[in-house]
């Protein structure tokens, strides 16, 4: 025997492994979300970073607590809790009370992810589950008052942190010192369109929709910043065009059929954020190529039906959540043609 060789390791092939692992993929997603976080900070002030930090922190703490409780190994290393926290923050109205954001994040990680067995075993997208959960609580309508104006901080100071208070009288948006910030919130473009008709949104410029200079959820408004991040994920191969392409394509086709403005429907609301960052969530979307297109088309149809007939004119989150559990069945009926027929 050659010297110094003892206790050889055994395993089945392959003996070589790609250096890209789950944490690295998650880090890429975090990197891809940074442009949108910057855009959110520009339009909604330092409050955007504050709210995101609250969500991320709550997600991480929840994960540690749950793992401790279940006596299973810590998985914070995979950074998926950070992604969940960030994505959740992006879906919230910018003036959501911080404690409610933290609660949503807790629900996202504890209920939607860990209760199902942790990363890889969840059926619903955790971030969307957390967001929709707080919108199902009594008094959810109050949350709709949290859509503050872009660049509202010009009058109040960039560093103002918002502290929203709910009371029987309604919602009061204040800063941390308790000073009321009046008249900075209003309806989102989608709500305006539903309530007052297409004429009412005529003065909303495409460039503002594209850059994110409109009211909306924290990280959803800037299509421009989101697309930069999406391009990075596409380049890195973490997502592909099929799901976002078919969602956006379907939305465009349906809006043209209904004689509505397709550009408005694509840029307003959470469609870009949802298509590229939520619907493409690996765990909860179909894995087959054909299945991904079917999934995207179904989400697109669902979104348009919600926008026209739903109680609330925004439907991206609900559309994706409703199709999450269907993803596995879509896979079953869209198996790829194996090599050689």
């Amino acid at each position: 025997m050659a010297d110094g060789i003892d206790r050889l390791m055994l395993s089945a092939p392959s003996h070589l492994h790609s250096p890209v692992d789950v944490p690295q993929a998650m880090h890429d997603v975090i990197i891809a979300l940074i442009p949108a976080l910057i855009a959110a900070t520009i339009f909604f002030g330092l409050n955007a970073i504050f709210l995101s930090a609250v969500c991320v922190l709550s997600a991480c703490i929840t994960e540690v607590l749950v793992k401790r409780l279940l006596n299973s190994p810590l998985t914070l290393w995979d950074s998926s809790a950070i992604v969940t926290g960030l994505l959740l923050a992006f879906t919230l109205p910018p003036a959501t009370p911080w404690w409610l954001a933290a609660f949503a994040s807790f629900i996202a990680v504890a209920l939607a992810k860990e209760l199902f067995g942790g990363i890889g075993r969840n059926i619903f997208n955790p971030a969307l589950f957390g967001r929709v959960f707080i919108f199902l609580l009594p008094g959810w309508k109050l949350l709709l008052n949290g859509y503050i104006d872009p660049l509202w901080w010009k009058g109040q100071g960039f560093f103002t942190i918002i502290n929203t208070k709910f009371s029987t009288a309604g919602v009061s948006i204040m800063d941390m010192a308790g000073k009321h910030l009046d008249g900075i919130a209003g309806a989102t473009p989608l709500v305006i369109r539903r309530t007052y008709g297409a004429l009412a949104i005529k003065n909303i410029r495409y460039v503002d929709l594209f850059l994110g200079n409109i009211r909306g959820s924290l990280g959803e408004t800037s299509a421009f910043a989101l697309l930069i991040g999406a391009a990075y994920l596409l380049y890195k191969g973490h997502i592909n065009w099929r799901i976002p392409g078919s969602i956006i394509g379907t939305v465009a086709v349906v809006s043209i059929l209904w004689r509505q403005d397709p550009v408005f429907h694509i840029l307003a609301g959470g469609l870009i954020l949802g298509s590229f960052f939520m619907a493409t969530d690996w765990v909860t979307s179909p894995i087959t190529a054909k299945g991904q297109i079917v999934y995207g088309v179904l989400i697109g149809l669902f979104v348009m039906l919600m926008r026209r007939f739903g109680i609330k004119p925004e439907g991206v989150a609900l559309a994706i959540l409703h199709l999450n559990p269907v993803a596995f069945f879509i896979d079953r009926y869209t198996l790829p043609n194996k090599f050689g027929g």
Partner: protein, 446 residues
């Protein structure tokens, strides 16, 4: 520059061939003791034709192949038979083997000499020499070459493909022979074309071997009907079905179909060389080129090795190991077989001995599938490796069968790419075995 071709799917592992690619092939030291397993190929094992105490010469038949899908075994050295008994084998369980102690003379059998008129041989005589020489596919699968060259009646073969891809990282044996002996390889290819009565052949070589493309093209230029085709660098470009797809665009249907069902026979570069030597010199397959390499080997080399030489002998000839050996693999890192002892012999299918250090070999913990779909994009057979892995893990054999588990060729692309370090190939290998044994039981019952 001719356009490079390729197949859909696949992965891009680092090729790490620079460790040994510039090392000219050297003859390995002939060891004192050689162990020849009676099973070095796919198919029925050979029957030993010698007994303890017999004297043999190099090239003499020691194991006879009695069935059609089999290949005889010959003595790689001259000497005395020490034992005919079970001995460790690099692929799994111990098998019957003949142990020869060298007499130090390396005397060859009288029948082994150059046939000056070999080019006048009839196809069936060429085929006989190939069969009697015990030649098998030297790319690693070790399927008897004579069987591949005897297509059943009614199957028309129109193209031969010479596989010079060597897509496994680290391995450079085929690359070196294409640089050093291109004439012999192409002469071997000609003989194969003659047996099959085919007048068109392609030589597929990956773009990371421009010097091999050049040297083979130079020789092929003077030959009619032989073309060199450059291929994109991608694993598993050298898998038979993927190579045919890349070069001819034809897809071989799933098993039991073979390349000959689409009119193609694929032969590895080393096999062509062995065919040439068998037909011209009547020399049986008793040696082959083996790449001994890896980060834990001090002096990686390409060695011309007598079959039956132990792995430890070859490692010793390559400057030994530098301390922290983690894994010793027969073959390449993607499909090779990890060894638990080093007294196993080089067999016909041993294309390389790869020694990885502890850090490279460290086992990564397998985690839950996150359905990222990387393995699905990588799978060259268009399967769903993640689901196959999960089904095998859970014992859902019927579901695994429905997803075509037996189409998997275990190329390892999925295990390589998986960010959750899931061992899909391990699970699929296990699943195939379980399903086969269940089928056997069912058949026995009915």
């Amino acid at each position: 520059m001719i356009k490079l071709k390729t197949f859909p799917g696949g992965v891009h592992p680092p090729d790490r061939k620079s460790l040994s690619v510039h090392k000219q092939i050297e003859p390995a030291v002939i060891p004192n003791v050689i162990v020849c397993p009676m099973s070095q190929h796919i198919g029925a094992p050979c029957q030993p034709r010698v007994k303890e105490g017999d004297k043999v010469k190099a090239g003499q038949l020691i194991g006879q192949a009695d069935s059609f899908v089999s290949a005889p075994v010959h003595a790689p050295i001259s000497g005395t038979i020490k034992a005919v008994c079970l001995a460790p084998h690099p692929i799994g369980k111990p098998v019957m083997a003949v142990t020869i102690e060298s007499d130090g003379l390396d005397a060859w059998d009288d029948a082994i000499q150059e046939d000056l008129y070999y080019s006048r041989l009839e196809p069936k005589d060429i085929l006989n020499r190939v069969r009697n020489a015990g030649i098998v596919g030297l790319g690693g699968a070790a399927f008897p070459t004579a069987v591949k060259l005897s297509p059943p009646k009614g199957k028309r073969i129109d193209t031969v493909i010479l596989n010079g891809v060597e897509c496994e990282p680290y391995l450079t044996a085929d690359h070196r022979i294409m640089l050093e002996e291109p004439e012999k390889i192409i002469a071997g290819l000609r003989l194969i074309m003659k047996v099959l009565n085919v007048d068109r052949a392609f030589i597929g070589i990956e773009s990371n071997k421009p010097d091999a493309i050049e040297s083979m093209s130079k020789v092929a230029k003077g030959e009619s009907g032989i073309y060199v085709q450059g291929l994109k660098l991608k694993y598993p470009q050298g898998a038979e079905k993927q190579l045919i797809k890349a070069i001819l665009g034809r897809e071989v249907p799933p098993p039991p179909c073979l390349p000959l069902d689409v009119g193609v026979v694929v032969q590895n570069a080393g096999t062509c060389l062995a065919v040439y030597e068998a037909v011209r010199d009547n020399k049986p397959l008793v040696e082959r080129v083996v790449t001994v390499t890896g980060s834990a080997i001090n002096d990686p080399k390409n060695l011309r090795v007598r079959l039956g030489t132990s792995f430890s002998d070859l490692i010793a000839q390559c400057g030994n190991t530098n301390g922290s050996v983690g894994k010793v693999i027969m073959g390449g890192p993607m499909m090779g077989i990890a060894q638990h002892r080093l007294d196993v012999p080089v067999i016909k299918g041993t294309s390389g001995i790869l020694v990885l250090n502890r850090k490279e070999a460290a086992k990564q913990e397998s985690r839950a599938c996150i359905r990222c779909g990387q393995c699905i994009r990588a799978c060259p057979m268009n399967l769903l490796p993640n689901l196959l892995g999960i089904y095998c893990e859970k014992g859902r054999w019927e579901d695994a069968e429905k997803l075509h588990i037996f189409d998997c060729m275990e190329c390892g692309s999925c295990s390589y790419i998986c960010p959750a370090s899931r061992q899909m190939v391990h699970l699929i290998k296990l699943g195939k075995q379980e399903i086969l044994s269940i089928q056997k039981k069912r058949e026995a019952k009915s």
